[in-house]
Each structure stands twice: as structure tokens, then as C-alpha cells.
Symmetry: D2
Subunit: 337 residues, 4 copies
């Protein structure tokens, strides 16, 4: 850690900081400049809060040198992680698409969705059986019945299943039915859930919270990785800003930033990222152009009658067209889709 | 609901919107202006998403008329809710203070804290036994042992206990030991937890998420209220903005806004709201001046050695001084503290 | 305008709103629902602030129906505007690239830049002669000498010139030397400058402010258009959010949103949008994939020694490679570049 | 400056950074830790961009040690600045109030305002003669006539005048009529204007931009101070966040933060900070409780008919009551008002 002292900080204040650093196990390098003294703390200490030093008398600012995440960093695995499930590889050259309705409603609806998804060439079907809803008066999902419906339709069409797990008590159920367990944006810092997912051996799709920094996403991934589950897929799905034309601001730069900082695959969710159907296709193109390893898309055979998220859900023909365009973009940057 | 059609939207598009509204159970009032047709949908329908109409052809914009929350609205209980626990009233004339360390560490530490808190005239001791931490490598709390330590110290000093519940599996344990169950900012939209808390009969302290709008806080409160638990206390604790001089931006205007929109008591947490000890006292004053019904404050007998949140934790003498100043501010606006 | 009254608003309050609407020249339609009365004000009135009604007794909320901008709206010119300068068309099928250094430094530097830019197939050279700098101690630009250098180099290489105008006193000078006058992000709401630019007959490149909503960008464009200058090009260049990995958050969804709301051409500036060289190329691809009509890029023959913005400035070979990739992306969506 | 190298950065990369630092005039201290090498650059160099080093190969991050502003820092003048105009002191013990309508409309209106303001015990009348308006179709101000009206009314009632200057061409006019020249939020980074104001000898009221960090406000103040005008008063007036219940989020913590970082007086504008009349009084109380040196408030004898900002403008009786409450709060913290 680096501690920059204020100009003219008296020696007693410098010494107090040194004492505290040494007391925590740091070796201290002192460097005295014309205006500022800088203290560098080097050591085996990982878990400390730089803010504790920032409030000490005479301290101007502090900077953590070592990243607070390790297993998630690109440095830990420079070649990059490819998550392999059956024949599907996420994080490889091919851009993978996961698609389906927001909520599982009926067997017929999911059968329709599975046809649309597999016909268009996507690899994974999505659909929520447990739904986190802002209002207690909204539809809350079919639960285990929904998972069964998803599993059967996926098997009929040779698709994988991704579905959301809302808390740690639901993990065993999801493990039984899904190929990938999704952690929703609102649960990105549900640490009990993350720890539980560190103990399973199925891939986890971790969505960025709407107000989470990229560093916080990586710390949440670290929870899962440090439990021994190395198959984590990250997902950008829009952050909250002042702009209201879109439901969230889809942070497309998160793709190149994350690809640089971490070895984990990163996919994009332009459905939640924009909240409006007409913007999903251009933003799916943008995500792939910026380097996303995959997409997760809401599609429904009749979005006007979907029980949730209809406004951001593609019609079947829009989805098919999106797949065509995404393939063209992938080709333009030397990938397939 | 109001649907504003685009200028020159053809009659077929208007009709499609009317048909959809009627199909959902709305009675439709049509009003045709020089440039725009406006459709007003009136009816018993509560659970719908205006975004579904916004993406229809020819629609310019939609507005929900009826608030999505009901039990939490000021209209439901104009006189305001006072949560009474033993002799303590939250939401009445007296400004209530909850204080204590971020984490429960040892019996001695909590005994110290209880003395500081009760001597200064505060009513509730706080302390975390289960700690949501961004990093998996940070201290995660003492669990049930921590709750026992809190309960015993509180009883010795005539204080109430508030402590955080991290997921629904911990609810029974917290009900056994705490007088008020705290939902942390990261869990404000953990709907399974909220629903569980609707079923208990102990007060809940619901913290605003760092990126939650005020409407979303009220919807989360609605989850608890709609389960039959009417004793909900809201807490402003800072939102995430672009400013980095403070850990969060303590949204002081949330106090008058919430007091207008809801009947529930609202307290402020300037410790998390600012993240730095030196700003806690002025912001505690500001919160009370703006109308907060109470405060929740981090204080520790030796913050430099606190296991968590030391930088934002007051020293004992600062806390005592804060109580003095807060009392003066409360007096200036006709309240006590 | 629509005014939604609160539940149970007494008749006197409804009448007060009606009286005020009528007094302002609106015709009022009243629609009474089970819970809420809604008043629709229709009329020739353009310049009013809905907030004035929101604070009236008994009013729940207000919504402006008619957009506050007119000349900038897509509805005004559905076919879209193509700005033609010499042989260059901005807003047509071809994606146009403007590129060059942040600041004009020397004649040699600009000659180098002009070669790089024209060799790579871009159409416009950029470079600042007047520099808005956060610190008074930073380089402030060469002024008219810089403009001369730019003009001469551009003419030698068959390029157009775009350069920034910082206030209305500089307009005549810029008109003399530049083909496109750029309004920087910090000046997006310098209304005296915008009004002055409405009176000239040269295209204006209007950059979105870092905290400007899309509606505010369009209102600023309206200032220029309403003065009679119809050649306005909009530019997305990043908004301020809580994320710090990038200098700003490049709002890629602004491209499809703006293309829907306005007929004006929209280009992207991934250099300022990201602030870091390594992210410029992927975000240039993303912008074009999302529908941008052009790009404005910082490139320098030796960015390590650029007097300003070096970190976000491409090296010559990176720029050439970017042009190649952008051409591939443009081709994938049926455009050229 | 501090440059932290990445783990395992090869010696050649370290050397390249050292060479660049030395080339810029820095003396370099090198400190090699177990994982990271840290380079400290010390020297007379003030104007450089740390981002230039962050993009060098092998660099993890950079931190500027010396603040980019000097004259504005508390360190430069620890005792604090008191701006004295006639008998009014801004930045002293007494909390100063500036109040009046958003826009100057008529002589009668300003006479009314001056009576309200002086009767309630405020010291300065505010009113805009030049109005920056988002829409070109809105009222743009009376210009010099407005300033004359303000001056005469102020003189009749023993008040000072504060009024906004929109660009550098208006500076001489404002100097003739006003006692304090206001720079509006939209112009906080209009550097030509700031530089011009550095050359006058009248106090400047500098408002924080809605997306300006506190450091950026201080850099803008530095422009004025470095021109030789030391009488700068800062003003917090709300920042843009995701919350929409208030027009802006009034950043009350800016008061204690600024009082710590700078010696300049800091006042608050809860009218623009909240945008709604009913929130102005509680937020005025909060600002003073948090340490503001003064307030600037919109008040009008008939806000329902104000030409601008009516919704956030207090009625006369509200203003008088606000003054009473603010005095009580000031008294509670040992100040007068």
C-alpha cells in the first residue's frame, strides 16, 4: 500500500503511520520528496481497508497496490478460461447465444421458445422459474415446475439450460435441472449465495449489478472461484445512470475492460441493457463488435402477451434476423457465431 | 394508465392500443388533441408494465397513474407510523439514535460500546454478527455468538438491539436475539428475504440500496408490509454517484421526500453515507435538520483497531459530542433527541 | 400537457388547476377515473414548465405531451439529414472518419497527422487551436496560428477541417479556417455560443455534455437549427457515471436512440469516450456496429509526446488498423467506411 | 507522481517509465516490493497527465501526489477567506442569505422582492438579467434593463446585488451593476469566462456544475484565483444522479468536504438543489447544519406567475419562515444568521 502524507505533515504523524503499517505486518519504504513524504507498505497482508489510513492525521491519500482479487485476474490465467459444457464452449472463438423468454409460463410457450432458439442456431435456452420482481404484486415464477418444463424442452432440442437461482436454499434444485446457474444483478453481492455456488461443480453466470463497478464484479467472481468453482461466466447487463431513454445504460466498454482484467468469459445482455425491443439488435451487434464472448437475449413467440419484460423481448423473426447480423459482425472480427 | 400517441399516429395504431387496454380489463377514455391522441386506461388492473405499451407502434410515451405501492404510501396512513419497542418510539417527536460498532468482535468490545452508547443517551445498540463483505478474504462475522454477546450487553445497559439478517435462513436466529432486524443495502431487493420478514412480528430496518430510487425503496417496504408486518423503518445511507470524496453521496433530500410519500419512519446512516469519520457529525446534524426520525451511527472504543469500517467509525468522545450537537439541532426544529 | 390529480383531491384543487391551464391558453379535457382525475391540456402553448403544476396542491404528477424540440425531431424530416461538404457526405451510407491530434502543436506535427489521416482513408482532420483545459496551468492552444497550420495541411492532403470554437467571440475566426465548427462537451449548454452558430452557414459538430441527457442534446441542437443553420452533426463522447475504469462511459445506445428521435447525423468519439488508447479500437467498432454515421478519433505520430490527451491518442499503426476493422464492421451491416 | 508497475513487469518496462519521468524533469525514487515495483517521481513539474503513464506497457496504475490546484487549497490559507462587501462578510461566523426571483421581470416585481428579502433580514438580492435556458423558445432575460432595475431596488433597500454573467463579453456590464458576479452551473468550465473574471476586482460566486466533481470545482476556482482575483465564493447547487424525485441531488456533504479542502467560503442553493418548493426549507436547514456559510434562495411575490423556475420558488411567507428556522439552526451550532 502507498500512503501519501500531506505537505508539511510533522514527523510524529509520519511515524504514527509507519508504526501502524509495521504493526499490521508491512515492511515500510519511506521516500521523502520536496513537498510530500510517501510511505510504501509491502507485505503479506491482503485484507485491509486503505480508508483506515486515509483518516489518520497528516495523511493526504492512500492507494492499494495489490488488486483485491487474485483468482479472477487475467494475471492468474493469461490464456483465458473456456467454459465447456457438452459441445458448447464459452470463451472460445465462437460467440455463444443464450435466448428464451423472461419467465417460464407454460409448456407450450417453452416448446415454442426452444424451437425458435435452436432453429436460429443458438446454443442455450434461458427462462426464469424464480423471478425477482420489484413489486410484491407481480408474477413470481412457476418454481420447480418451470425448471422441469425447461429441462424437457431443452433436451428435445439439444439445448443447454440457464436459469436464475435467487438464494442459497434454491441451489440444489437448480443444480438438478440447469446446466448454468444464473446469479441475477440484484444478487451480485448476495455473498451467502456466492459462497454456496463456490461449492458446486456447475458453471455460474454472474450478472453485473446495476450499480456495481467492474472491480466489484470481479470481487464477486472471486467469492465463487475461491470456493473452488472455476467456471464463472460474467455478464454485462446495463448500469444505472441519469439517462432515461433506455432502462439502463448498457456499458459496452465493459467488454474490452473485462477482457483485459480477467481471464473469465464475458457475455452481454442487451435486453436488460436497453429495456426496449428496438434497441436490442443494434446493441447485440455492438457487444459482439466490442469483444463479447456471447449474448443472452429475451425472445418469446408472442411478446405482447408475455407475463414479464415483454417490452424488451424480441419477436421470433427479430431474433432470427439478430442471429444473422451477429454472425456477420463476428465474421468481421475473425470469430464465428 | 395514460398512453400518449405520436403525432399523426394512424387510427389503426390507436385502435390497437385501445384493444390491448380493453383486453387487460381497462376502461378507456380517449382524448384527441390538435397534435396528439391521449388514451386514459382506468380499471382494477394493478400489475402491468407501462413499457409494454411504449414499444407499440405509434405510441410516444406511457405513464402509470396509480402508484405501484399502496400500503407504504402516506395516503394509506396520513398520520404516520410510530414503531414502539419497549419504551422507545421511532417515528415520534423524539429523534432516536442507534449506535455501536460495525462488527461484533469480542465481549469486551461490545461491553465498551454499550457503555458509550447508553452513557451518551442513545437507545439502541447496533453491531453486525453476519457481515456482507465485498471480498471473500475479509472477516465475515461471529454469527450466533456475536448475537448472544450483543443481547447480553444490551440487557445489562437497557438498550435495544438492531442487527443485520443476510438471508432468509437467518431470520429465526435474528428474531431470537434482536429487537430490530436490519436489511442491508445490498439486500434491499432480496425479495425472498423481504417476503420472509413480512411474516414475522418484529420491526424491520430497511436500508436503501446504493443505486435504489426512492420508489424502489418503497416497493421493497411494500413486500414486508403486504406480508402483514407493518413495523418497517426506512434508512437512507448514501447513493452511488460520480463524486469520490465521500464513499457514497448521502442523499439528505431523501428525508423530506420520504416523509411526504410514506407514513413510515425514516432514519439516516451518515457513517455509511460518507465513509469518513470527520464527515459523520456534520451529516448527522444535516439529517436531523432535514427531518430524519433517527440516526444509526458507527462508534467503537478504538476505531483504529476495529476489524471493519474503522475509517467511518466515531471515537467515543466524537460520539458524545455528536449527541450533544444533534440534541441542539433537534431542539431548533421543535423535537427532542 | 397531462396533469394527474392525487387520489381524493377535492374539487377546488382540480378547479384551480383547470383555471391555471385555461389562463395559459390551454383547452382542457377532463377525465375522471375511479381513483384519479386526469386533466389534459391542449393548445398552442409551447413554453411552459410542467414542474409549475407539479407543486400545486392536489397534483400527483404532470407530463408534457409535445416534445420541447421540434426542428431536431425525426418527425420534422423523416428521411434524415445528410450534411454535404465538398464531396463528403455525413449521414449517408458511408461512415465518415475525422481524425487528428488533440491539440495543434507544430506545423510538422500537423503535416504528419494529415498524412496518417489521409493515407488511412479518413476524410476530415481534427485538431484543437483553442483548448478548454480543467487546469489553468495546462497548455491552452496556439490560437489562430494553429488554425492556419490546420487549413494548410488539410488543403495539401484534400481533407476537411474540424476544430473547436470555445465562445461566441471566436466564431468569425473559426468560420474563416474550418469546414466544421465543433462545440465541445463543456459548451453544449453555452447558449450564447449556440445562438451565434445558428446564424452562420457552416456545419456544426455538437458534442454531448458529459452529464447531458439525450433530450438536452436535442434542445441544444434546436438552438442552432432555430437560428436557421440546419447543418448540425451530433456526437456521443461518453457520459459521467460511477465507473472509473474508463474516463467516461461511452453510451453506445445513444446511437440507435438518437437515430430514432432525430434526423440529424450522429457520430461517435471513442477517444474521449474511453480515455485509454487500448479501448478506442473496440469501441470504434461498437459505435459503427450500433449505427454511428461516423467517428472522430485522436491520432498523433508520437502520442507519448503529445501535449494533451496522449493516453487516449492512437499511434499511427493503430489508427490504420482501426480503419481496416471499421470498414469490415461497416460492410457487415451494409455500409461502407 | 507515483507509478505502480504490474506484477512481473520486466526491467525494460520499468526502465522506460523511469526514462520518461526523468525526461520530464522528475527525480525518481524506486522501491521494489515482493510483487510490485513502485516509482515515485518528485520534481518541479506541475502540468502533466497521469493517464499518459497509465497506458505505458507494464504499468498498473498512477497517482498524482500533488494537488492540481494550489491557490484554492486550504493549505494555502489555513485561516479561511472572508469576502467583505460593504458591511457584509461571507465566510465569517454569520450565515449570509442571498434571495430573490429567478429572473428579473419588471420593476414592480423586483421592488416587491427587495422588500421581502430585506424585511426577512437577508443581505443580498439575486435575480437573473441574462438567462441560460435549455430551450431556445424560453424567456431569455431583460439584459441591461434588468440589471438597472436590480441595482436601483437594491440601493433603495440597502442590499447587495448578485447576478449571473453568461459569457466574457458580458463581464464589463455586470461589473457596472452587480456586487457579486455569478457563474452558473453550466458555465463552471467556461474557461474563457473564468479567466476574464480573474482579471476583475469584484467577488465571484462560482456554482458547481451538475456533473462536476469537487476537485473540478476547485480547479475552476483556481482559474479565477490565478488571475489575481481572490474573492471567490463557491456554491453547491445539486448534482445529477439517477434519482428523479428531486430535480438534482443536493450534495449536502459537499459543505464539510469543501470546508476541509479549501479556504474559500461555500454557500448552498437548495432551490436548484431540489427543484421543488416544499423541499427548499428543510434542505436550507440541512445546508446550514452541515456548515454552509450562506444560502442563495429563489423567492417571488407570486411564484405561480413567475416567468421561470416557479416550482422551486418560495412564497414570501415561506421565505420569512425559512429565515426564522435557519437562524435557529445557526444558533444551535454557534453561528448567527
Amino acid at each position: 500500500m502507498l500512503v501519501v502524507m500531506q505537505e508539511d505533515a510533522p514527523e510524529a504523524q509520519v511515524q504514527a503511520v509507519i508504526d501502524r503499517l509495521v504493526g499490521m505486518g508491512f515492511t515500510v519504504h519511506r521516500s521523502t520528496g520536496v513537498q510530500h513524504t510517501v510511505l510504501g507498505g509491502v507485505g503479506p497482508v491482503d485484507d485491509f481497508d486503505p480508508a483506515n489510513f486515509e483518516v489518520m492525521a497528516g495523511v493526504k491519500e492512500c492507494h492499494r497496490i495489490v488488486s483485491p482479487y487474485k483468482l479472477a485476474s487475467r494475471h492468474f490465467k493469461p490464456a483465458g478460461t473456456v467454459v465447456k459444457i457438452g459441445g458448447v464452449e464459452i470463451g472460445g472463438n465462437k460467440v455463444v447465444t443464450m435466448a428464451g423468454p423472461c419467465s417460464v409460463e407454460t409448456e407450450e410457450q417453452i416448446e415454442c421458445a426452444a424451437q425458435i432458439v435452436s432453429n436460429a442456431g443458438a446454443q442455450v435456452i434461458r427462462g426464469g422459474a424464480f423471478k425477482p420482481r420489484s413489486s410484491p404484486y407481480s408474477f413470481q415464477g412457476l418454481g420447480e415446475d418451470g425448471l422441469k418444463i425447461m429441462r424437457q424442452a431443452a433436451d428435445r432440442h439439444g439445448l443447454l439450460v440457464v436459469s436464475e437461482v435467487m438464494d442459497r436454499t434454491q441451489v440444489p434444485l437448480l443444480v438438478d435441472y440447469a446446466d448454468i446457474l444464473q446469479v441475477g444483478a440484484r444478487n451480485m453481492q448476495n455473498f451467502n449465495l456466492l459462497r454456496e455456488l463456490g461449492g458446486i461443480r456447475k458453471p455460474v453466470l454472474l450478472k453485473r449489478g446495476i450499480s456495481a463497478t467492474i472491480e466489484e464484479v470481479l470481487l464477486s467472481a472471486e467469492y465463487i472461484l475461491s470456493g473452488g468453482n472455476y467456471e464463472v461466466i460474467l455478464c454485462e447487463r446495463g448500469i444505472r445512470t441519469f439517462e432515461t431513454q433506455t432502462r439502463n445504460t448498457f456499458d459496452v466498454s465493459a467488454f474490452p475492460v473485462l477482457k483485459r482484467l480477467t481471464h473469465l468469459p464475458v457475455i452481454g445482455d442487451p435486453s436488460h441493457g436497453t429495456g426496449k425491443r428496438d434497441y436490442v439488435v443494434p446493441m447485440a451487434r455492438a457487444a459482439v463488435a466490442a469483444g463479447a464472448d456471447g449474448l443472452i437475449i429475451e425472445v418469446h413467440h408472442d411478446p405482447d402477451h408475455a407475463v414479464s419484460d415483454g417490452a424488451q423481448t424480441l419477436r421470433p423473426e427479430q431474433f432470427t434476423e439478430m442471429m444473422r447480423q451477429v454472425r456477420a459482425i463476428a465474421g468481421a472480427i475473425g470469430r464465428t457465431a
